[in-house]
Point group: C2
Chain length 265, copies 2
Amino acid sequence: MASEAPAKRQKSAKDVPYSLVYWPGIPGRGEHVRLALEEAGAEYSDTAFTDGGIDEVMAFVQGKAPDDGINPPPCAPPILKHGDLVISQTPNILQYLGTRLGLLPGADEDPDALYRVNALALTALDGLSNEPHDCHHPIATGLYYEDQKVESKRKSEDYVKNRLPKFMSYFERVLGSKASGDGPWLYGGRLTYADLVLFQCVDGVKFMFPKAMGKLEKDGKHEKVFALHKAVAERPKIKAYLESPRRQKYSSGIYRYYEELDVEP
Amino acid sequence: MASEAPAKRQKSAKDVPYSLVYWPGIPGRGEHVRLALEEAGAEYSDTAFTDGGIDEVMAFVQGKAPDDGINPPPCAPPILKHGDLVISQTPNILQYLGTRLGLLPGADEDPDALYRVNALALTALDGLSNEPHDCHHPIATGLYYEDQKVESKRKSEDYVKNRLPKFMSYFERVLGSKASGDGPWLYGGRLTYADLVLFQCVDGVKFMFPKAMGKLEKDGKHEKVFALHKAVAERPKIKAYLESPRRQKYSSGIYRYYEELDVEP
Protein backbone atom coordinates (compact mmCIF):
# COMPACT_ATOMS: atom_id res chain seq x y z
CA MET A 1 0.00 0.00 0.00
CA ALA A 2 1.23 3.51 -0.78
CA SER A 3 1.31 6.12 1.97
CA GLU A 4 -1.89 8.04 2.64
CA ALA A 5 -0.70 11.36 1.28
CA PRO A 6 -0.86 10.49 -2.43
CA ALA A 7 -4.19 8.73 -1.96
CA LYS A 8 -5.68 11.96 -0.65
CA ARG A 9 -4.55 13.73 -3.78
CA GLN A 10 -5.94 11.01 -6.02
CA LYS A 11 -9.19 11.74 -7.70
CA SER A 12 -12.10 9.71 -6.42
CA ALA A 13 -14.04 7.65 -8.95
CA LYS A 14 -16.62 10.46 -9.21
CA ASP A 15 -14.15 13.36 -9.29
CA VAL A 16 -14.20 13.31 -13.08
CA PRO A 17 -16.01 15.51 -15.61
CA TYR A 18 -19.66 14.91 -16.38
CA SER A 19 -20.68 13.71 -19.85
CA LEU A 20 -24.02 14.71 -21.30
CA VAL A 21 -25.34 12.51 -24.11
CA TYR A 22 -27.99 14.43 -26.03
CA TRP A 23 -29.10 15.17 -29.58
CA PRO A 24 -27.20 17.90 -31.41
CA GLY A 25 -29.13 20.82 -32.89
CA ILE A 26 -31.87 21.44 -30.32
CA PRO A 27 -31.81 22.62 -26.70
CA GLY A 28 -34.47 20.00 -25.84
CA ARG A 29 -34.57 18.21 -22.53
CA GLY A 30 -30.78 18.28 -22.44
CA GLU A 31 -30.97 22.01 -21.78
CA HIS A 32 -32.12 21.42 -18.19
CA VAL A 33 -28.99 19.38 -17.59
CA ARG A 34 -26.78 22.01 -19.23
CA LEU A 35 -28.21 24.82 -17.10
CA ALA A 36 -27.45 22.89 -13.89
CA LEU A 37 -23.89 22.15 -15.02
CA GLU A 38 -23.32 25.74 -16.17
CA GLU A 39 -24.73 27.36 -13.02
CA ALA A 40 -22.41 25.17 -10.95
CA GLY A 41 -19.41 25.85 -13.19
CA ALA A 42 -18.95 22.08 -13.57
CA GLU A 43 -16.62 20.56 -16.12
CA TYR A 44 -18.57 18.59 -18.71
CA SER A 45 -18.62 17.27 -22.25
CA ASP A 46 -21.69 17.37 -24.47
CA THR A 47 -22.36 15.17 -27.50
CA ALA A 48 -24.16 18.13 -29.10
CA PHE A 49 -20.72 19.65 -29.65
CA THR A 50 -18.49 16.59 -29.94
CA ASP A 51 -17.28 15.02 -33.18
CA GLY A 52 -19.18 11.78 -33.52
CA GLY A 53 -21.49 12.78 -30.67
CA ILE A 54 -24.54 11.79 -32.67
CA ASP A 55 -23.16 8.25 -33.03
CA GLU A 56 -23.07 7.89 -29.27
CA VAL A 57 -26.66 9.14 -29.00
CA MET A 58 -27.78 6.73 -31.70
CA ALA A 59 -26.01 3.76 -30.09
CA PHE A 60 -28.03 4.34 -26.91
CA VAL A 61 -31.30 5.02 -28.73
CA GLN A 62 -30.97 1.89 -30.87
CA GLY A 63 -29.97 -0.26 -27.91
CA LYS A 64 -26.54 -0.94 -29.40
CA ALA A 65 -24.45 0.47 -26.55
CA PRO A 66 -22.64 -2.48 -24.93
CA ASP A 67 -23.99 -3.83 -21.63
CA ASP A 68 -21.60 -2.35 -19.06
CA GLY A 69 -22.65 -4.83 -16.40
CA ILE A 70 -23.69 -2.31 -13.77
CA ASN A 71 -26.20 0.11 -15.29
CA PRO A 72 -29.58 -0.80 -16.78
CA PRO A 73 -29.53 0.35 -20.43
CA PRO A 74 -31.05 3.83 -20.75
CA CYS A 75 -34.13 4.24 -22.94
CA ALA A 76 -33.60 7.73 -24.37
CA PRO A 77 -31.48 10.85 -24.03
CA PRO A 78 -30.69 12.95 -22.07
CA ILE A 79 -28.21 10.52 -20.55
CA LEU A 80 -25.60 11.48 -18.00
CA LYS A 81 -22.36 9.59 -17.63
CA HIS A 82 -20.30 10.19 -14.52
CA GLY A 83 -17.51 7.79 -13.70
CA ASP A 84 -19.08 4.34 -13.92
CA LEU A 85 -22.62 5.67 -13.58
CA VAL A 86 -24.91 5.97 -16.61
CA ILE A 87 -28.38 7.35 -15.93
CA SER A 88 -31.24 8.75 -17.97
CA GLN A 89 -34.43 10.76 -17.42
CA THR A 90 -34.19 14.55 -17.05
CA PRO A 91 -35.59 14.91 -13.50
CA ASN A 92 -33.46 11.97 -12.36
CA ILE A 93 -30.25 13.44 -13.77
CA LEU A 94 -31.11 16.78 -12.19
CA GLN A 95 -31.61 15.17 -8.81
CA TYR A 96 -28.22 13.48 -9.06
CA LEU A 97 -26.55 16.72 -10.12
CA GLY A 98 -28.48 18.83 -7.63
CA THR A 99 -27.14 16.81 -4.74
CA ARG A 100 -23.56 17.05 -6.00
CA LEU A 101 -23.46 20.58 -7.40
CA GLY A 102 -24.97 22.51 -4.50
CA LEU A 103 -28.32 23.01 -6.24
CA LEU A 104 -30.24 21.61 -3.26
CA PRO A 105 -30.10 22.32 0.48
CA GLY A 106 -27.73 19.86 2.15
CA ALA A 107 -29.15 16.64 3.58
CA ASP A 108 -27.95 17.59 7.10
CA GLU A 109 -29.71 20.90 6.95
CA ASP A 110 -33.00 19.87 5.27
CA PRO A 111 -33.16 16.12 4.55
CA ASP A 112 -36.55 16.24 2.82
CA ALA A 113 -35.69 19.19 0.56
CA LEU A 114 -34.84 16.88 -2.32
CA TYR A 115 -38.39 15.49 -2.41
CA ARG A 116 -39.97 18.94 -2.25
CA VAL A 117 -37.70 20.28 -4.98
CA ASN A 118 -38.08 17.14 -7.11
CA ALA A 119 -41.89 17.53 -7.04
CA LEU A 120 -41.58 21.11 -8.29
CA ALA A 121 -39.21 20.09 -11.09
CA LEU A 122 -41.46 17.18 -12.14
CA THR A 123 -44.53 19.43 -12.20
CA ALA A 124 -42.78 22.09 -14.31
CA LEU A 125 -41.60 19.42 -16.75
CA ASP A 126 -45.10 17.89 -16.96
CA GLY A 127 -47.06 21.06 -17.53
CA LEU A 128 -44.60 23.40 -19.18
CA SER A 129 -42.41 21.05 -21.21
CA ASN A 130 -44.18 17.73 -21.96
CA GLU A 131 -47.54 19.35 -22.64
CA PRO A 132 -46.12 22.05 -24.96
CA HIS A 133 -44.28 19.28 -26.83
CA ASP A 134 -47.54 17.42 -27.23
CA CYS A 135 -49.15 20.60 -28.61
CA HIS A 136 -47.22 20.04 -31.84
CA HIS A 137 -47.24 16.22 -31.60
CA PRO A 138 -50.62 15.27 -30.06
CA ILE A 139 -51.12 12.10 -32.11
CA ALA A 140 -47.71 10.51 -32.61
CA THR A 141 -44.11 11.51 -31.90
CA GLY A 142 -43.12 9.40 -34.91
CA LEU A 143 -45.17 11.49 -37.36
CA TYR A 144 -44.29 14.94 -38.68
CA TYR A 145 -46.06 17.99 -37.33
CA GLU A 146 -47.53 18.47 -40.81
CA ASP A 147 -49.32 15.13 -40.41
CA GLN A 148 -51.11 16.29 -37.24
CA LYS A 149 -51.62 20.02 -37.80
CA VAL A 150 -55.38 20.04 -37.24
CA GLU A 151 -55.07 18.18 -33.93
CA SER A 152 -52.12 20.38 -32.93
CA LYS A 153 -54.17 23.51 -33.38
CA ARG A 154 -56.98 22.08 -31.29
CA LYS A 155 -54.62 21.00 -28.52
CA SER A 156 -52.76 24.32 -28.54
CA GLU A 157 -56.02 26.23 -28.15
CA ASP A 158 -56.86 24.18 -25.08
CA TYR A 159 -53.34 24.47 -23.72
CA VAL A 160 -53.25 28.26 -24.01
CA LYS A 161 -56.75 28.67 -22.59
CA ASN A 162 -56.68 26.13 -19.76
CA ARG A 163 -53.43 24.35 -19.05
CA LEU A 164 -50.85 27.13 -19.36
CA PRO A 165 -52.68 29.50 -16.99
CA LYS A 166 -53.22 26.61 -14.58
CA PHE A 167 -49.51 25.82 -14.32
CA MET A 168 -48.42 29.47 -14.32
CA SER A 169 -50.87 30.18 -11.48
CA TYR A 170 -49.66 27.10 -9.64
CA PHE A 171 -46.05 28.26 -9.68
CA GLU A 172 -47.09 31.80 -8.73
CA ARG A 173 -48.77 30.23 -5.70
CA VAL A 174 -45.66 28.21 -4.85
CA LEU A 175 -43.56 31.38 -5.08
CA GLY A 176 -45.97 33.11 -2.72
CA SER A 177 -45.99 30.27 -0.18
CA LYS A 178 -44.04 30.43 3.07
CA ALA A 179 -41.85 27.47 2.05
CA SER A 180 -40.40 29.55 -0.80
CA GLY A 181 -38.70 31.83 1.72
CA ASP A 182 -37.28 35.24 0.79
CA GLY A 183 -36.13 36.22 -2.66
CA PRO A 184 -37.20 35.04 -6.10
CA TRP A 185 -36.76 31.28 -5.62
CA LEU A 186 -39.23 28.39 -5.37
CA TYR A 187 -37.95 26.74 -2.22
CA GLY A 188 -36.10 27.66 0.94
CA GLY A 189 -34.95 31.17 -0.01
CA ARG A 190 -32.16 29.83 -2.20
CA LEU A 191 -31.57 28.73 -5.78
CA THR A 192 -32.28 25.05 -6.45
CA TYR A 193 -32.37 23.14 -9.71
CA ALA A 194 -36.16 23.49 -9.76
CA ASP A 195 -35.63 27.23 -10.40
CA LEU A 196 -33.43 26.43 -13.38
CA VAL A 197 -36.08 24.04 -14.70
CA LEU A 198 -38.84 26.63 -14.32
CA PHE A 199 -36.64 29.24 -16.04
CA GLN A 200 -36.09 26.99 -19.04
CA CYS A 201 -39.78 26.04 -19.21
CA VAL A 202 -40.96 29.66 -19.08
CA ASP A 203 -38.31 30.63 -21.60
CA GLY A 204 -39.41 27.92 -24.01
CA VAL A 205 -43.12 28.59 -23.63
CA LYS A 206 -42.48 32.32 -24.26
CA PHE A 207 -40.83 31.31 -27.53
CA MET A 208 -43.60 28.91 -28.53
CA PHE A 209 -46.67 30.87 -27.42
CA PRO A 210 -45.59 34.54 -27.39
CA LYS A 211 -49.17 35.87 -27.59
CA ALA A 212 -50.41 33.88 -24.61
CA MET A 213 -47.30 34.51 -22.52
CA GLY A 214 -47.37 38.21 -23.44
CA LYS A 215 -50.91 38.41 -22.10
CA LEU A 216 -49.98 36.55 -18.90
CA GLU A 217 -47.02 38.89 -18.40
CA LYS A 218 -49.20 41.97 -18.88
CA ASP A 219 -52.06 40.85 -16.65
CA GLY A 220 -49.78 41.18 -13.61
CA LYS A 221 -51.05 37.98 -11.97
CA HIS A 222 -47.86 35.99 -12.53
CA GLU A 223 -45.24 38.54 -11.57
CA LYS A 224 -43.26 36.17 -9.37
CA VAL A 225 -42.90 33.57 -12.14
CA PHE A 226 -41.64 36.16 -14.61
CA ALA A 227 -39.34 37.64 -11.94
CA LEU A 228 -37.84 34.19 -11.37
CA HIS A 229 -37.23 33.85 -15.11
CA LYS A 230 -35.39 37.20 -15.06
CA ALA A 231 -33.45 36.38 -11.89
CA VAL A 232 -32.12 33.14 -13.34
CA ALA A 233 -31.18 34.84 -16.63
CA GLU A 234 -29.18 37.45 -14.70
CA ARG A 235 -27.08 35.05 -12.67
CA PRO A 236 -23.51 35.62 -13.86
CA LYS A 237 -22.74 32.09 -15.01
CA ILE A 238 -26.16 31.62 -16.63
CA LYS A 239 -25.90 35.02 -18.33
CA ALA A 240 -22.49 34.10 -19.77
CA TYR A 241 -23.87 30.74 -20.89
CA LEU A 242 -26.94 32.25 -22.57
CA GLU A 243 -24.65 34.60 -24.52
CA SER A 244 -22.31 31.76 -25.52
CA PRO A 245 -22.53 29.52 -28.61
CA ARG A 246 -23.26 26.62 -26.25
CA ARG A 247 -26.81 27.99 -25.86
CA GLN A 248 -28.55 26.59 -28.92
CA LYS A 249 -31.50 28.26 -30.59
CA TYR A 250 -34.97 26.78 -30.31
CA SER A 251 -35.68 24.97 -33.55
CA SER A 252 -37.45 21.65 -34.10
CA GLY A 253 -37.30 20.39 -30.53
CA ILE A 254 -39.75 20.66 -27.66
CA TYR A 255 -40.47 24.37 -28.05
CA ARG A 256 -41.31 25.30 -31.63
CA TYR A 257 -42.77 28.42 -33.10
CA TYR A 258 -45.61 27.81 -35.52
CA GLU A 259 -47.59 30.94 -36.26
CA GLU A 260 -50.84 28.96 -36.51
CA LEU A 261 -50.34 27.48 -33.02
CA ASP A 262 -49.57 30.87 -31.46
CA VAL A 263 -53.25 31.34 -30.81
CA GLU A 264 -54.88 34.33 -29.16
CA PRO A 265 -55.49 33.52 -25.52
CA MET B 1 -35.93 17.78 30.58
CA ALA B 2 -37.33 14.31 31.08
CA SER B 3 -34.99 11.35 31.46
CA GLU B 4 -33.76 9.70 28.28
CA ALA B 5 -35.68 6.44 28.68
CA PRO B 6 -39.15 7.78 27.75
CA ALA B 7 -37.68 9.77 24.88
CA LYS B 8 -36.33 6.55 23.38
CA ARG B 9 -39.80 5.05 23.51
CA GLN B 10 -41.36 8.13 21.94
CA LYS B 11 -42.20 7.85 18.29
CA SER B 12 -39.98 9.91 16.03
CA ALA B 13 -41.67 12.53 13.88
CA LYS B 14 -41.66 10.10 10.94
CA ASP B 15 -42.66 6.99 12.89
CA VAL B 16 -46.32 7.62 12.06
CA PRO B 17 -48.64 6.10 9.46
CA TYR B 18 -48.50 7.29 5.87
CA SER B 19 -51.47 9.16 4.38
CA LEU B 20 -52.28 8.87 0.71
CA VAL B 21 -54.41 11.64 -0.76
CA TYR B 22 -55.94 10.44 -4.01
CA TRP B 23 -59.22 10.44 -5.93
CA PRO B 24 -61.77 7.83 -4.88
CA GLY B 25 -63.16 5.47 -7.53
CA ILE B 26 -60.15 4.81 -9.76
CA PRO B 27 -56.82 3.08 -9.18
CA GLY B 28 -55.08 5.83 -11.16
CA ARG B 29 -51.59 7.06 -10.30
CA GLY B 30 -52.37 6.47 -6.64
CA GLU B 31 -52.18 2.73 -7.31
CA HIS B 32 -48.39 2.87 -7.62
CA VAL B 33 -48.22 4.34 -4.14
CA ARG B 34 -50.65 1.75 -2.76
CA LEU B 35 -48.64 -1.14 -4.17
CA ALA B 36 -45.45 0.10 -2.49
CA LEU B 37 -47.23 0.54 0.85
CA GLU B 38 -48.95 -2.85 0.58
CA GLU B 39 -45.82 -4.77 -0.42
CA ALA B 40 -44.03 -3.28 2.58
CA GLY B 41 -46.94 -3.95 4.93
CA ALA B 42 -46.91 -0.27 5.93
CA GLU B 43 -49.68 1.34 7.94
CA TYR B 44 -51.50 3.94 5.84
CA SER B 45 -54.72 5.81 5.32
CA ASP B 46 -56.22 6.48 1.90
CA THR B 47 -58.70 9.22 1.01
CA ALA B 48 -60.25 6.82 -1.52
CA PHE B 49 -61.74 4.95 1.46
CA THR B 50 -62.09 7.71 4.05
CA ASP B 51 -65.27 9.62 4.85
CA GLY B 52 -64.75 13.11 3.47
CA GLY B 53 -61.63 11.97 1.61
CA ILE B 54 -62.77 13.65 -1.57
CA ASP B 55 -62.93 16.99 0.27
CA GLU B 56 -59.27 16.72 1.16
CA VAL B 57 -58.38 15.93 -2.45
CA MET B 58 -60.43 18.89 -3.68
CA ALA B 59 -58.86 21.29 -1.16
CA PHE B 60 -55.43 20.46 -2.57
CA VAL B 61 -56.55 20.52 -6.21
CA GLN B 62 -58.27 23.88 -5.80
CA GLY B 63 -55.36 25.38 -3.89
CA LYS B 64 -57.47 25.83 -0.76
CA ALA B 65 -55.36 23.71 1.59
CA PRO B 66 -53.81 26.07 4.15
CA ASP B 67 -50.16 27.05 3.72
CA ASP B 68 -48.38 24.86 6.29
CA GLY B 69 -45.25 26.98 6.22
CA ILE B 70 -42.81 24.23 5.31
CA ASN B 71 -44.06 22.44 2.19
CA PRO B 72 -44.64 24.01 -1.23
CA PRO B 73 -48.33 23.50 -2.08
CA PRO B 74 -48.77 20.33 -4.20
CA CYS B 75 -50.26 20.72 -7.67
CA ALA B 76 -52.22 17.47 -8.00
CA PRO B 77 -52.76 14.07 -6.41
CA PRO B 78 -51.32 11.60 -5.61
CA ILE B 79 -50.08 13.40 -2.51
CA LEU B 80 -48.31 11.68 0.36
CA LYS B 81 -48.42 13.05 3.89
CA HIS B 82 -45.95 11.67 6.38
CA GLY B 83 -45.45 13.51 9.63
CA ASP B 84 -44.85 17.14 8.63
CA LEU B 85 -43.92 16.25 5.08
CA VAL B 86 -46.40 16.76 2.22
CA ILE B 87 -45.16 15.76 -1.24
CA SER B 88 -46.69 15.09 -4.62
CA GLN B 89 -45.73 13.46 -7.94
CA THR B 90 -45.92 9.67 -8.25
CA PRO B 91 -42.23 8.92 -8.95
CA ASN B 92 -41.19 11.32 -6.20
CA ILE B 93 -43.46 9.69 -3.61
CA LEU B 94 -42.18 6.28 -4.68
CA GLN B 95 -38.60 7.37 -4.23
CA TYR B 96 -39.38 8.61 -0.73
CA LEU B 97 -41.20 5.39 0.15
CA GLY B 98 -38.63 3.20 -1.59
CA THR B 99 -35.88 4.51 0.64
CA ARG B 100 -37.91 4.01 3.81
CA LEU B 101 -39.76 0.78 3.04
CA GLY B 102 -36.86 -1.37 1.83
CA LEU B 103 -37.89 -1.15 -1.83
CA LEU B 104 -34.40 -0.02 -2.87
CA PRO B 105 -30.93 -1.35 -2.12
CA GLY B 106 -29.50 0.47 0.90
CA ALA B 107 -27.37 3.58 0.36
CA ASP B 108 -24.35 1.93 2.04
CA GLU B 109 -24.57 -1.07 -0.23
CA ASP B 110 -25.32 0.64 -3.57
CA PRO B 111 -25.48 4.45 -3.24
CA ASP B 112 -26.44 5.07 -6.89
CA ALA B 113 -29.20 2.44 -6.99
CA LEU B 114 -31.86 5.06 -6.36
CA TYR B 115 -30.98 6.89 -9.59
CA ARG B 116 -30.93 3.71 -11.65
CA VAL B 117 -34.26 2.55 -10.20
CA ASN B 118 -35.81 6.01 -10.49
CA ALA B 119 -34.94 6.14 -14.21
CA LEU B 120 -36.71 2.80 -14.75
CA ALA B 121 -39.80 3.95 -12.84
CA LEU B 122 -39.92 7.26 -14.74
CA THR B 123 -39.60 5.48 -18.08
CA ALA B 124 -42.38 3.00 -17.26
CA LEU B 125 -44.65 5.85 -16.16
CA ASP B 126 -43.87 7.85 -19.32
CA GLY B 127 -44.41 5.12 -21.86
CA LEU B 128 -46.86 2.76 -20.18
CA SER B 129 -48.99 5.12 -18.09
CA ASN B 130 -48.88 8.70 -19.39
CA GLU B 131 -49.02 7.68 -23.05
CA PRO B 132 -51.94 5.23 -22.57
CA HIS B 133 -53.77 8.02 -20.71
CA ASP B 134 -53.20 10.34 -23.65
CA CYS B 135 -54.60 7.66 -25.99
CA HIS B 136 -58.06 8.50 -24.67
CA HIS B 137 -57.31 12.17 -24.02
CA PRO B 138 -54.97 13.30 -26.81
CA ILE B 139 -56.40 16.80 -27.18
CA ALA B 140 -57.43 18.01 -23.73
CA THR B 141 -57.67 16.46 -20.28
CA GLY B 142 -60.52 18.87 -19.58
CA LEU B 143 -62.71 17.49 -22.38
CA TYR B 144 -64.63 14.22 -22.35
CA TYR B 145 -63.35 11.24 -24.30
CA GLU B 146 -66.45 11.55 -26.47
CA ASP B 147 -65.21 14.98 -27.57
CA GLN B 148 -61.92 13.56 -28.87
CA LYS B 149 -62.85 10.09 -30.11
CA VAL B 150 -61.48 10.48 -33.62
CA GLU B 151 -58.11 11.69 -32.37
CA SER B 152 -58.09 8.98 -29.68
CA LYS B 153 -58.48 6.28 -32.28
CA ARG B 154 -55.65 7.70 -34.34
CA LYS B 155 -53.35 7.98 -31.33
CA SER B 156 -54.22 4.50 -30.08
CA GLU B 157 -53.38 3.02 -33.49
CA ASP B 158 -49.96 4.62 -33.34
CA TYR B 159 -49.46 3.63 -29.73
CA VAL B 160 -50.25 -0.03 -30.31
CA LYS B 161 -48.17 -0.19 -33.48
CA ASN B 162 -45.11 1.81 -32.43
CA ARG B 163 -44.91 2.99 -28.87
CA LEU B 164 -46.15 -0.01 -26.88
CA PRO B 165 -43.76 -2.48 -28.59
CA LYS B 166 -40.93 0.03 -28.14
CA PHE B 167 -41.40 0.26 -24.37
CA MET B 168 -42.12 -3.45 -23.92
CA SER B 169 -38.94 -4.29 -25.85
CA TYR B 170 -37.01 -1.75 -23.81
CA PHE B 171 -38.01 -3.37 -20.51
CA GLU B 172 -37.34 -6.84 -21.92
CA ARG B 173 -33.83 -5.58 -22.70
CA VAL B 174 -33.43 -4.16 -19.18
CA LEU B 175 -34.53 -7.50 -17.71
CA GLY B 176 -31.93 -9.25 -19.86
CA SER B 177 -29.10 -6.89 -18.91
CA LYS B 178 -26.42 -7.85 -16.41
CA ALA B 179 -27.49 -5.09 -14.02
CA SER B 180 -30.84 -6.84 -13.53
CA GLY B 181 -29.08 -9.71 -11.74
CA ASP B 182 -30.74 -13.07 -11.12
CA GLY B 183 -34.47 -13.63 -10.85
CA PRO B 184 -37.39 -11.77 -12.37
CA TRP B 185 -36.52 -8.22 -11.23
CA LEU B 186 -35.36 -5.10 -13.08
CA TYR B 187 -32.38 -4.18 -10.96
CA GLY B 188 -29.85 -5.83 -8.70
CA GLY B 189 -31.49 -9.26 -8.38
CA ARG B 190 -34.04 -7.99 -5.87
CA LEU B 191 -37.48 -6.39 -5.83
CA THR B 192 -37.50 -2.59 -6.05
CA TYR B 193 -40.37 -0.17 -6.44
CA ALA B 194 -39.63 -0.01 -10.19
CA ASP B 195 -40.86 -3.61 -10.42
CA LEU B 196 -44.12 -2.64 -8.75
CA VAL B 197 -44.49 0.26 -11.17
CA LEU B 198 -43.87 -1.96 -14.19
CA PHE B 199 -46.34 -4.53 -12.84
CA GLN B 200 -49.07 -1.92 -12.54
CA CYS B 201 -48.30 -0.45 -15.97
CA VAL B 202 -48.39 -3.85 -17.69
CA ASP B 203 -51.53 -4.73 -15.78
CA GLY B 204 -53.26 -1.53 -16.88
CA VAL B 205 -52.18 -1.77 -20.50
CA LYS B 206 -53.41 -5.39 -20.62
CA PHE B 207 -56.81 -4.09 -19.50
CA MET B 208 -56.85 -1.22 -22.00
CA PHE B 209 -55.35 -2.90 -25.06
CA PRO B 210 -56.05 -6.64 -24.62
CA LYS B 211 -55.62 -7.41 -28.34
CA ALA B 212 -52.20 -5.79 -28.60
CA MET B 213 -50.96 -7.18 -25.30
CA GLY B 214 -52.33 -10.63 -26.16
CA LYS B 215 -50.27 -10.58 -29.35
CA LEU B 216 -47.13 -9.41 -27.50
CA GLU B 217 -47.63 -12.16 -24.95
CA LYS B 218 -48.01 -14.78 -27.66
CA ASP B 219 -45.08 -13.68 -29.79
CA GLY B 220 -42.69 -14.81 -27.04
CA LYS B 221 -40.39 -11.80 -27.40
CA HIS B 222 -41.37 -10.21 -24.11
CA GLU B 223 -41.36 -13.19 -21.82
CA LYS B 224 -39.37 -11.50 -19.07
CA VAL B 225 -41.78 -8.57 -18.84
CA PHE B 226 -44.79 -10.86 -18.55
CA ALA B 227 -42.91 -13.04 -16.04
CA LEU B 228 -42.24 -9.97 -13.91
CA HIS B 229 -45.95 -9.11 -13.99
CA LYS B 230 -46.74 -12.62 -12.76
CA ALA B 231 -43.98 -12.62 -10.12
CA VAL B 232 -45.26 -9.37 -8.58
CA ALA B 233 -48.87 -10.61 -8.59
CA GLU B 234 -47.78 -13.75 -6.71
CA ARG B 235 -45.97 -12.01 -3.89
CA PRO B 236 -47.99 -12.86 -0.78
CA LYS B 237 -48.80 -9.31 0.33
CA ILE B 238 -49.54 -8.13 -3.21
CA LYS B 239 -51.70 -11.21 -3.84
CA ALA B 240 -53.72 -10.52 -0.71
CA TYR B 241 -54.05 -6.88 -1.69
CA LEU B 242 -55.19 -7.67 -5.24
CA GLU B 243 -57.90 -9.93 -3.80
CA SER B 244 -59.03 -7.33 -1.26
CA PRO B 245 -61.64 -4.59 -1.73
CA ARG B 246 -58.81 -2.06 -1.49
CA ARG B 247 -57.84 -2.99 -5.06
CA GLN B 248 -60.22 -0.89 -7.13
CA LYS B 249 -61.42 -1.85 -10.58
CA TYR B 250 -60.19 0.00 -13.65
CA SER B 251 -62.91 2.42 -14.67
CA SER B 252 -62.61 5.99 -15.93
CA GLY B 253 -59.03 6.61 -14.89
CA ILE B 254 -55.74 6.20 -16.74
CA TYR B 255 -56.46 2.74 -18.11
CA ARG B 256 -59.87 2.52 -19.78
CA TYR B 257 -61.39 -0.08 -22.00
CA TYR B 258 -63.01 1.29 -25.12
CA GLU B 259 -63.70 -1.38 -27.70
CA GLU B 260 -62.95 1.02 -30.55
CA LEU B 261 -59.51 1.82 -29.15
CA ASP B 262 -58.61 -1.85 -28.65
CA VAL B 263 -57.24 -1.93 -32.17
CA GLU B 264 -55.67 -4.91 -33.90
CA PRO B 265 -51.91 -4.63 -33.65
